[in-house]
């Protein structure tokens, strides 16, 4: 008979169990995949560069993941026990012994957990190869990913299964015991308006101050470079958001419905008379869950933004450091061309640009110091004829404007300031120059800042040193062999410039030396002979790919977990709540109206957290807003998040309506 009871309660809640089991088995599958990747031989072979890093990362990641999943299971698993509360109490009234009831809930948990694990492990077996291939693709590694699960992984999985299932079952059994001890039916929730309204108001104030603070953060991030102020602001914003949201939920969600319910002309028309009260009751039950989901969603969004911008920053730094696959100057171009010819590299594009090097002096506001240094000059039309990617991080200029390209001291290069009054040796002073940070031919090809000047200015200006830069793009790499690289190593430095600064620029001069000076003097600059992406690019792609993989996996898992919490919360109505919907139908409320109530409930439950989460993750954008062209992508990411979330809402509405409708036809 106990078997029958367990079987029946499992089938009664099968929709909810299905969602729970799917979410769990997804988590288990991901966990298994992460775990088994750590000691996958083909991964290790493909990523020799990264050594034990992969193993450590997957180990740490899978542990964190397992921990989160476990918390989720404890939390959500409790819903099911709560749902059976009446049933358990009836069993006890009918004289069933307590330990039997507890045993029923214990075994029920074990069965559900076992099913989830079986599905999860199956998922892992099916998708391991796929995920591995995805990882390899993202890492741009051309290897075949072999399926592999080591004995130690299996052993670990089995242990985790037994321990986690045991703990979960015991926890659920304890929850059942507590239900049997308390017995009190549905505690009446006290409204306590005197507490709620002020708390809600305070919450709104907190949220508002957080938003104001965010605006300040925007400003401070751009103006203050090294200070504890932004950090304090971020801490404050986070705290204010978290508590403010809770207080607002606690104070206002029920109050709004309560007020509407008091306005009889609204409340007494149509199903409102019922739906306001119903919704209020449901909201009361769900406040802490809504809050929990809101904060976690905000965190997930912030994490996503953070990772995205972090990746972008690294990517852009990298791209501005190596805009060409191979770059050379006039001293090395011959040797390099010869080497390229030897191994038949397929050149996709080649560029050359003449530059002039001259001495300049100016007062730099950003560094707050007076600078005297050599500077490379390039004409506007030469600059414009280079590939577009060279100009990506620079301000736009027209043919009459000047552009100074410098090294950015921080990641916050969204600097709209300009440089003024730059004196150039034997040439007119440059009154204003716009700023940029991405160097044509790569930052390492230059020893100092660079200036793009109008064509006429360029033609007329004198040069201390004249040089020509060369750049190549290839189809399938430059194919330079290790031996060739070794040979080229002696060309790394093209020449050295020793600057003799005198009282005025006109008297100062640059002395070019072929040999490296014996000791480095302050005013000696090195011109690089060539610059190659080579292995750096490969490593960069691998690291970035791995990073993307983990972040994507995490945020998807988080999204699924949060969505399923909300869905389950909606599905698991108390008995009397779903009976009421049936009653409504009996006294002549149209089905579409009842559907409307359920739709409203769903919309509220899903909309509230996502709106608050979006508002809060605004901070993350504030922290990392680099420029207009990036914000579009972040909007896309957020949009994707909202769409997925909405999908969850839609599914839970459909399932929920189906469940209610089933009861109608009894």
């Amino acid at each position: 008979m106990y078997r029958k009871i367990i079987k029946r309660s499992l089938s009664n809640m099968r929709d909810s169990y299905l969602i729970y089991i799917l979410a769990c088995s997804f988590a288990i599958g991901v966990y298994g995949i992460l775990l088994s990747m750590g000691d996958n031989p083909s991964l290790h072979f493909a990523l020799r560069f990264w050594g034990s890093f992969i193993n450590d990362t997957t180990m740490i990641m899978s542990s964190i993941f397992a921990f989160c999943a476990f918390i989720y299971m404890i939390y959500v698993g409790g819903f099911f026990i709560k749902q059976q509360r009446n049933e358990f109490l009836t069993f006890e009234k009918l004289g069933m012994q307590r330990w039997v009831i507890v045993a029923i809930s214990f075994f029920q948990t074990i069965i559900v957990q076992a099913i989830a694990w079986v599905i999860g492990i199956t998922l892992m077996l099916i998708f391991q190869k796929f995920m591995g291939m995805l990882l390899f693709y993202l890492m741009r590694v051309r290897f075949n990913f072999e399926m592999h699960i080591s004995l130690s992984s299996i052993w670990l999985l089995i242990r985790v299964f037994f321990i986690s299932t045991l703990i979960l079952s015991i926890i659920n059994a304890i929850k059942t015991i507590r239900i049997l001890q308390k017995k009190k039916r549905r505690p009446l929730i006290k409204t306590r308006w005197w507490l709620r309204i002020p708390a809600g108001l305070f919450g709104i104030i907190l949220l508002l101050t957080a938003q104001v603070c965010t605006l300040y953060l925007f400003k401070d991030m751009h103006t203050i470079s090294y200070s504890a102020k932004p950090l304090t602001e971020i801490m404050y914003i986070m705290g204010a958001d978290i508590f403010g949201t809770y207080l607002v939920y606690f104070g206002f969600l029920p109050s709004i419905l309560n007020i509407m319910q008091r306005i009889h002309s609204v409340a007494y028309s149509g199903v409102n008379i019922f739906s306001f009260k119903y919704m209020k009751e449901r909201l009361f039950q769900n406040i802490s869950i809504l809050w929990f989901v809101t904060e976690l969603s905000a965190m997930a969004l912030a994490l996503l933004t953070f990772c995205y911008f972090g990746y972008q920053a690294v990517h852009q730094n990298y791209n501005s450091a190596y805009p060409f696959e191979l770059a050379a100057n006039k001293n090395t171009v011959k040797v390099i061309r010869e080497e390229l010819k030897k191994n038949d590299a397929k050149v996709k594009g080649s560029y050359r640009t003449d530059v002039k090097i001259n001495l300049v002096s100016y007062y730099s506001k950003a560094e707050q110091s007076y600078n005297r240094q050599p500077m490379t000059f390039m004409s506007y039309s030469d600059y414009m004829s280079l590939p577009k990617r060279m100009r990506k991080g620079n301000s736009k200029i027209n043919s009459h404007q000047f552009l100074k390209i410098g090294f950015s001291s921080s990641v916050m290069y969204n600097n709209h300031e300009k440089e003024h009054d730059i004196q150039v040796k034997d040439a007119p002073m440059i009154p204003t120059a716009k700023l940029g940070y991405s160097f044509p031919y790569g930052s390492s090809m230059h020893f100092g800042p660079m200036m793009i000047v109008p064509n006429k200015y360029y033609e007329k200006m004198p040069a201390e040193v004249k040089d020509t830069f060369y750049g190549w793009d290839f189809k399938k790499g430059d194919r330079l062999s290790h031996a060739q690289m070794q040979k080229l190593n002696s060309y790394r430095d093209a020449y050295y410039m020793k600057v003799n600064f005198k009282s005025t620029l006109a008297k100062s001069s640059i002395e070019v030396m072929k040999k490296e000076p014996n000791k480095y003097e302050a005013a000696t600059y090195t011109q690089a002979g060539f610059l190659r992406q080579g292995g750096v690019k490969k490593r960069f792609k691998q690291g970035g790919g791995f990073y993307l993989f983990i972040v994507a996996l995490f945020s998807v898992a988080l999204l699924i977990a949060l969505g399923s919490v909300l869905t389950l919360r909606i599905l698991l109505r108390d008995d009397y709540q779903s009976r009421q919907l049936r009653t409504l139908q009996k006294i002549g409320v149209e089905e579409s109206e009842i559907k409307g109530i359920i739709r409203r409930e769903n919309t509220l439950t899903f909309l509230i957290p996502i709106i608050f989460a979006l508002i809060q993750s605004f901070v993350a954008i504030a922290m990392f807003d680099f420029g207009r062209h990036i914000s579009k992508n972040i909007i896309l990411i957020y949009g994707g998040y909202i769409v997925l979330y909405g999908l969850f809402g839609l599914i839970s509405f459909q399932v929920s309506w189906r469940g209610v409708k089933q009861k109608f036809n009894l």
């Binding site: 002309s265 019922f274 009260k277 009421q580 409504l584 139908q585 006294i587 002549g588 089905e591």
Partner: protein, 256 residues
């Protein structure tokens, strides 16, 4: 003739353990009639009422009210029809736990978006009439069974339905409340020509009807018409109950 039920039947469950709740029932109810339906437990009274009131669809047969074949209606139109013309007192009350007594009672009017003044007026009238003014702000959870039943009756009657369906309306009531309710039903039946169909076990309750149909095992067994004298009618009903047999099923009136 307002309601015509033609050869309806209804089964529950699947092949093996199917229950033929209603086998083949035909009935005619005139406008303004007070019809009683009696029969032992499980005879199919509730099922019959549910089908006439379009809460359930019959497997076969037709239900024609005011010349309209309701079985042909779409669910949505049925719900509309039900809401506008019919009132229900359910055997299991079907009150909404979330709402208090007042809100439960005015629900049908609110659903029809009646104006607030009318709602208040009708509400006070009903509460006074059924002598339950004191309950109006209580929560349904706290009511006794009898109190719930009378509240359910108030809800059914508040919008002056054309047809009233009452399933065991006095099952949980003490004799005084039962008499008040039955008298009121008789009043609206006579004054406002409300058609009433009432299912009951109770011979005393049934004696308020103008005609009583007996069903057993899903078919009409016989019927008794009120001769104009309640005591005589009551006796006839008791006799018929004995004839149907299984007297142990019946709670012969506690009011007698």
């Amino acid at each position: 003739m307002q309601i015509a039920v033609k050869n309806i039947s209804k089964d529950f469950g699947k092949k093996r353990n199917a229950v033929h709740a209603i086998k083949d029932i035909s009935l005619e109810v005139d406008h303004g009639e007070f019809l009683g339906i009696m029969g032992p437990s499980g005879a199919g009274k509730t099922t019959l009422l549910n089908m006439i009131s379009t809460n359930q669809r019959p497997d076969h047969g037709q239900i024609i009210i005011d010349g309209l074949d309701l079985t042909q209606f779409h669910d949505r139109d049925q719900a509309k029809y039900r809401r506008n013309k019919m009132g229900f007192i359910y055997q299991s009350f079907e009150l909404l736990d979330s709402l208090n007594v007042k809100e439960n009672v005015i629900l049908p009017l609110a659903l029809n978006r009646s104006n607030k003044k009318l709602i208040e007026e009708r509400f006070n009238h009903m509460m006074q009439l059924l002598n339950i003014e004191k309950l109006s702000d209580r929560s349904v959870d706290e009511l006794s069974l009898g109190q719930r039943q009378i509240v359910a009756a108030a809800r059914a009657l508040i919008n002056n339905p054309e047809i009233l369906f009452a399933d065991e309306p006095t099952g949980s009531l003490d004799s005084k409340s039962a008499t008040i309710l039955l008298n009121y039903m008789q009043l609206i039946n006579q004054k406002e020509k409300t058609t009433i169909i009432m299912a009951t076990h109770d011979a005393f309750t049934a004696s308020y009807c103008s005609r009583v149909v007996f069903i057993k095992d899903g078919v009409v067994f016989s019927e008794v018409v009120n001769p104009g004298n309640r005591d005589k009618f009551f006796e006839q009903i008791i006799n018929m109950q004995r004839t149907i047999g299984g007297g142990d099923y019946f709670n012969v009136s506690q009011n007698y």
